[in-house]
Symmetry: C2
C-alpha cells in the first residue's frame, strides 16, 4: 500500500470512528448491551435495568429464551406489575429436552417475536434473556441476530444475556460486561435459593 493509500484509509477509518462516536452521543440512541460470563448477575442486572427504565416511564419488553418452564421470581413480579410485555415462547428450550427440532423452532419463534418488537419502534428497552445460550447451541445463528439488531428502531436499546456470548455479537455490541465469579468456595454446598437465584 502506498503512503497516499494508507493515508486515505486512515482518514476513512477516522471518519467512521467519529461517525460512530457521534451516533453514540445521541442520547436517544438505544444501545446494544451484552451481559456474559460464568458469574451471577447477567439476567438479574438486565432486570435491574428494566426497573430503572420503568422508573422513567419507558416501555419495556422481555423475551425469555430459556427457563420457560420455571416459575421465577422475576416472572411472577412482572406479571403482577402488568407493565412489561413478556414473552416466553412455548416452554422455552431447556437442556433437559431431547427434542432438538422443537427447541430450534421455539428459539426461532422467540427471536421472530423479538425482531418484530425491535422493529416496531414501540419499545425503549428489550431484554433477550439467555439468547446467548440459543446461539451457543446453534438454535439461532449469530448472523440472524445481528441482522435483527441492525433492523431495529434506532431508539430501542437491547440487552442480550447468557454465558458464552459469540465473539461476533460482542464485536457488534456497544457494551459488553462479563460477570466473573471470584469467590464461590462452597459451590457444591449452596443450593439455589428463591429470590437470590431464580
Amino acid at each position: 500500500m502506498s503512503d497516499d493509500d494508507h493515508k486515505q484509509k486512515m482518514q476513512e477509518r477516522q471518519a467512521s470512528q467519529r461517525a460512530k462516536v457521534a451516533e453514540l452521543q445521541d442520547p436517544d440512541k438505544g444501545l446494544v448491551l451484552v451481559h456474559t460470563g460464568a458469574g451471577k448477575g447477567k439476567s438479574s442486572s438486565a432486570f435491574g435495568v428494566v426497573v430503572r427504565a420503568l422508573g422513567w416511564k419507558q416501555k419495556v419488553g422481555v423475551i425469555q429464551f430459556i427457563k420457560g418452564k420455571w416459575k421465577t421470581g422475576e416472572r411472577q413480579f412482572f406479571d403482577r406489575l402488568g407493565e412489561v410485555t413478556w414473552h416466553t415462547m412455548g416452554e422455552g428450550f431447556t437442556w433437559d429436552t431431547q427434542d432438538k427440532d422443537r427447541d430450534i423452532a421455539a428459539a426461532q419463534a422467540a427471536f421472530a417475536k423479538g425482531r418484530e418488537m425491535m422493529e416496531s419502534g414501540d419499545y425503549d428497552l428489550i431484554v433477550m434473556d439467555e439468547i446467548n445460550i440459543a446461539m451457543r447451541y446453534d438454535y439461532l445463528s449469530v448472523a440472524d441476530v445481528i441482522a435483527g439488531l441492525n433492523a431495529r428502531d434506532k431508539r430501542t436499546g437491547v440487552i442480550l444475556t447468557g454465558r458464552d456470548a459469540k465473539p461476533e455479537l460482542c464485536e457488534y455490541a456497544d457494551l459488553v460486561t462479563e460477570m466473573t465469579e471470584v469467590k464461590h468456595p462452597f459451590k457444591a454446598g449452596i443450593k439455589a435459593q428463591r429470590g437470590v437465584d431464580f
Copy 2:
C-alpha cells in the same frame, strides 16, 4: 508442630468446613453477596434480585450509601411500587462534597439503620448499595460492617455493592461477583442514559 497436633488441627478445620457447608445448605439461611468490579451491573443486578425476591413475596430493604441526591429510575420505580423499605441517608455522601465530617456522619447513620434492619429479623433481603465505596474512603470500617453482618438475623440475605470491595469483606462473603467491562470502546463518547445507567 507434631504429627498429632497437625492431625488434630486438620480435623478441626474439616469439622469447621463441614459446619459451614451444612449451614449454607440450609435453604433458609440468608447469604452475603458482594458485587464489585469496574464494570456495569453491580447495583442493577442487586435491583434485579430485589425484583426476584418481591416475586416470591419476600420482604426487602434497600439502603443507599451514595447517589442520594440523584433522581434514579430505580428509586422512582420502587417509590411508586411501595413494597420496598428504602433509606437514603440525608443526601448520602458524594464525591462532590467538601465536608468529610458530614459524609462520615451520613455513612455511619446509614449503616446504623442497615444494622437495625439486619438484626430485626423482618427482612429476607437487604441491599446496601454502594457501601463498598463508603469503606474504600474509610467512612465506614470494614470491621464494623462485618460485625454488623455477623449480628444479622440468620435468615436475612445481604447484598453489598460498589467497586473496590475490601478483601476482608470478600473473604467473609458467601459469594463475590466481579463485573468486568470487556468492551467499552467509545467510553468517552457514550453519555450516561436514563434507564440504562441510572
